[in-house]
Symmetry: C2
Subunit: 216 residues, 2 copies
DNA sequence: AAATATCCTGACCATATGGTCAACATATCG
DNA sequence: CGATATGTTGACCATATGGTCAGGATATTT
């Protein structure tokens, strides 16, 4: 039975996998552009090249599809939140932080925008995650930043504001892509552009926080 | 006749003014949260405490209402884009830039989010503005930043990235308010919080760009 | 081949959508 | 007052919405 197979976690054939991938990609694009309410299953189906019924067959409901996409994005996010310790080099850690966040936004711009739309709407599906998991993560990093400051390795800035600065600055290039492209007059940002931006952000933020270079 | 009066730009009585204000405020909230497609006239009407027909009576159409809100927000934005000259002090100008942008986001968070949602959707209504007016504005400021760098008043950073950095960092607190509140655990940001954040951003960005203090 | 699990989709449903309109209410003004 | 502009709104329309379901088409397995 279909139901039992699904309950046992059996993914079924390759057909299912392929179609689900297609649907998820299409849905991410539509939800990213129009938010949860503004997206229609019909539009998602058209973007995926399938009849609406088929989308519902695989995903069950619009709500379920949306939640699944959010969870996928949070998983990607969590994957780059590796642990750091007080003994690490602040410059290295902060640069890696900026680089990996920038890379994530670049690799998954639609996912980034999906997240942004969810927050714009007041985070109805992510409230728990924000005030639970993510908040704890921020506090942990914050504690380490403070210790670095005590050791004179960087200025005593409020860690939370610093983290928000890095998040906003990096996410900007995915979320506000339309604005960035309109103003720069480019059709898209090249790898070289992104590298230049990353270098700029690293330079300004590290210097701005008084992070000492490693061998000083 | 109603039509002729409207064509002549006669605003009508105080009733109209009051109702329009109410509708615009409600619509800004709804559009900000759900984007153009995701917002319904019904929801706007309920938020304004009026029947749907009345909203359409005053605003003509959903599209017209949306455009009007966007234009209002762009006007607010333009109002703080005063001219600067090469002879001004970079530190003063950049700080004023950060402060005024922060104040705008704080005074009009819904407008800020409305703008964000429009960009997320690919800026279908604002493409011209971005690649025209706004682009020119950015280029003008950029030229001045470059001259400052030549004079040794600041590091030779790419002006466009710097402007984006300031925009994203300041706008973050309006657009991602739900995330900020969830992570900080606050119910809202106080004036003191905002002042602290503004000081942090000014400090980090000015220092990060090697802007020389005035009397140096 | 037979049996069974999976896949596919048009038809359908109740509800919501943006928008129109006619009828009526209220204000404004000669 | 009467006349005319302005404000108000329920009923209505065509279309789109998320979701269901029956019935058939394919795979897969025995």
């Amino acid at each position: 039975m279909t139901r039992r197979a699904r309950e046992r976690g059996e993914a079924g054939g390759a057909t299912r996998e392929r179609n689900e991938r297609e649907i998820l990609a299409a849905a991410e694009k539509i939800f990213a552009a129009h938010g949860y309410r503004g997206a229609s299953v019909q539009a998602i189906a058209e973007a995926a090249g399938l009849p609406k019924s088929n989308v519902l067959y695989y995903m069950g409901s619009k709500r379920g599809l949306y939640v699944r996409l959010l969870e996928r994005m949070m998983a990607r996010w969590n994957a780059l939140l590796d642990d750091i310790s007080v003994d690490d080099d602040p410059a290295e850690v902060l640069e890696a932080f900026i680089r990996s966040k920038m890379a994530l936004s670049r690799r998954h711009p639609e996912g980034s925008r999906l997240f942004a739309a969810e927050i714009l709407a007041g985070a109805p599906f992510l409230q728990e995650y924000l005030s639970g998991e993510l908040r704890a993560w921020v506090e942990e990093r914050g504690a380490i930043f403070r210790q670095w400051a005590e050791r004179g390795l960087m200025d005593p800035v409020e860690p939370v504001w610093l983290i928000f600065l890095i998040w906003s600055a990096t996410q900007h290039y995915a979320d506000f892509e339309a604005q960035v492209l309109g103003i720069t007059g480019k059709g898209e940002l090249s790898d070289a552009d992104v590298e230049q931006i990353t270098a700029f952000l690293t330079r300004v933020i590290l210097k701005g926080c008084g992070v000492r270079p490693r061998e000083a």
